[in-house]
């Protein structure tokens, strides 16, 4: 009871306090008869991580791909830094659930791929790729091929590729769902570091409640049929208590329980 009151005041305060890097305005998306998204509006504060959380079929990945410019909305518009999105652009980079690495190319070339597509000269893009390979902890694997790496290492390559193009907005589609539990925890801790160190806006799709609460500055709960944003939650107290203390923080536990309570009825 007290919990939800604090949350509401925080939500109201939070929305006024932050400037949006990405805005989704009245987005609808239909596939023929099927309505994937209906009139969805959402603000993504600059320099923060926003999770899109919800049961399968709630359209969270569809919304992310519309923001990426990979899908066109049936109506409504996306603005990134005040500019309307008409397709993929250098202001956004995507991290894929299944990594989407080129199996025939080395780690170095994979990480440099985004730069290669932008016409950056070979020597410069390799230097930048090497820097980000080091940053994600893969130094020494520059000349390995994806099939020689573990799932977690492959996703680090995917992350380095997205970081290397230095986009202001990072779009992550269930990036840790294909890696094992322990690697996932390490990833979540690293992600918190990344959000703090890089001045980027992160949009993160996940179906894990714990993961969303652990890594997010703002959590948008999406519900299906018809798809809509049912609630926006902004955890406040545990973000600066250190990665080891988050999971036993009372607010963390309360939010996890509360989200489960509201999603429970949508899970078959």
């Amino acid at each position: 009871m007290t919990m939800s009151q604090t949350k509401e005041t925080l939500t109201a305060a939070g929305a006024a306090e932050f400037e949006s890097a990405v805005s989704a305005r009245n987005i609808s998306k239909n596939y023929g008869e099927v309505e994937a998204l209906r009139d969805m509006s959402l603000e993504f504060p600059r320099g923060q991580l926003t999770s899109l959380l919800g049961p399968s079929g709630c359209g969270k990945t569809t919304l992310l791909k519309i923001i990426a410019g990979l899908l066109e909305p049936s109506s409504g518009e996306i603005e990134v830094n005040g500019k309307r999105v008409t397709g993929p652009g250098p202001d956004r980079a995507f991290v894929f659930q299944d990594f989407a690495l080129l199996p025939w190319a080395t780690v170095l070339r994979n990480v440099a791929f985004g730069l290669e597509m932008r016409g950056v000269a070979a020597s410069e893009r390799e230097a930048r790729a090497e820097k980000y390979i080091k940053e994600v902890g893969l130094a020494g694997f520059e000349n390995s091929y994806p099939h020689e790496l573990s799932g977690g290492m492959r996703q680090r390559v995917g992350l380095a590729r997205a970081l290397a193009v230095d986009a202001q907005v990072l779009l992550m589609d269930e990036p840790f769902s294909a890696v094992d539990e322990q690697t996932r925890r390490k990833f979540q801790e690293d992600l918190l570091q990344l959000v703090q160190n890089e001045n980027k806006t992160f949009i993160f799709v996940t179906h894990s409640i714990e993961e969303a609460v652990y890594v997010s500055d703002q959590i948008a709960i999406l519900l299906p049929r018809p798809s809509r944003v049912s609630e926006i939650i902004r955890p406040s107290s545990f973000r600066n208590k250190g990665v080891d203390n988050i999971r036993r923080d009372p607010e963390y536990l309360d939010i996890v329980d509360e989200i489960w309570a509201s999603l429970r009825s949508y899970v078959e």
């Binding site: 989407a100 199996p103 025939w104 091929y145």
Partner: protein, 250 residues
């Protein structure tokens, strides 16, 4: 394979079949099968003759030219068919018809259209090889991982970039498989072309030797042809194995 604890080298079964050939030949059962030793003797004898070298050159020229066109036309057409629904609907029935059609029956038509020379032989060779190359390239593109395409798109790849840096490489294992089968079919095509269109190259030698019952010569040329086709096909199979590690992971 191991026999009595010894590891046998690859293709040692050929020795056994060769031995059987020799025995049957020595028994003089039929003029059609001279002993293998005699065939091999003839083989080395004719290798140096100018008639053989001319035939080899003519055949190699028609074969390589035919395969070249089959590859440079077949691969892009197959990839484009895999990418574009419209093109696929338009062309797929034709590709399937020509893949299974008795192309030999088409050769007289080609002779009318393109004359009795090398041009018709090259076109025949291309027609034998190209359809399977198209179909395999198409299949390779169709099973491409969608997220690789989205990835390229999201990083701003142009369609030329996507074609040369994603589609081609993603389909490479299937493309090489198609080229390998296409080349084997091209061997058939070039010989049939040489027999039916104008009597040149190995086709002329086959015609000459079989008409004069020179079976030793006949088999010798056949062995050379088989060895050439086998070498090329094994080389492509080797390339296929080099890239197959990623076939499952696109």
């Amino acid at each position: 394979m191991t026999l009595f604890g010894y590891r046998l080298p690859g293709m040692s079964s050929l020795l056994l079949w060769g031995l059987l050939w020799e025995i049957v030949g020595q028994m003089s059962l039929t003029f059609f099968v001279p002993p293998l030793s005699e065939v091999l003797g003839t083989l080395f004898e004719i290798l140096g003759t100018s008639a053989f070298q001319k035939a080899l050159f003519e055949t190699a020229y028609a074969f390589l030219a035919g395969v070249f066109f089959a590859i440079v036309i077949g691969i892009p057409v197959g990839i484009l068919m895999g990418k574009s629904r419209l093109l696929d609907e338009m062309l797929l029935p034709w590709v399937n018809v020509f893949l299974s059609a008795p192309l030999t029956a088409l050769v007289p038509v080609l002779m009318v259209l393109f004359g009795f020379g090398m041009k018709s032989i090259i076109i025949t060779t291309t027609l034998f090889a190209i359809w399977i190359i198209i179909l395999n390239s198409r299949a390779g593109v169709r099973q491409i991982n969608r997220s690789l395409v989205e990835m390229a798109h999201s990083f701003g790849a142009s369609s030329t970039d996507a074609f040369f840096k994603i589609y081609f490489w993603a389909a490479l294992p299937e493309i090489l498989g198609g080229v390998r089968i296409g080349i084997i079919r091209a061997v058939k095509g070039v010989i049939i072309g040489q027999l039916l269109i104008s009597i040149v190259g190995f086709g002329a030698l086959f015609e000459l030797y079989s008409a004069n019952f020179l079976m030793g010569h006949f088999w010798a040329v056949l062995i050379v042809l088989f060895a050439l086709a086998f070498t090329i096909s094994e080389f492509l199979a080797y390339l296929e194995r080099r890239v197959s590690y990623y076939a499952a992971k696109r």
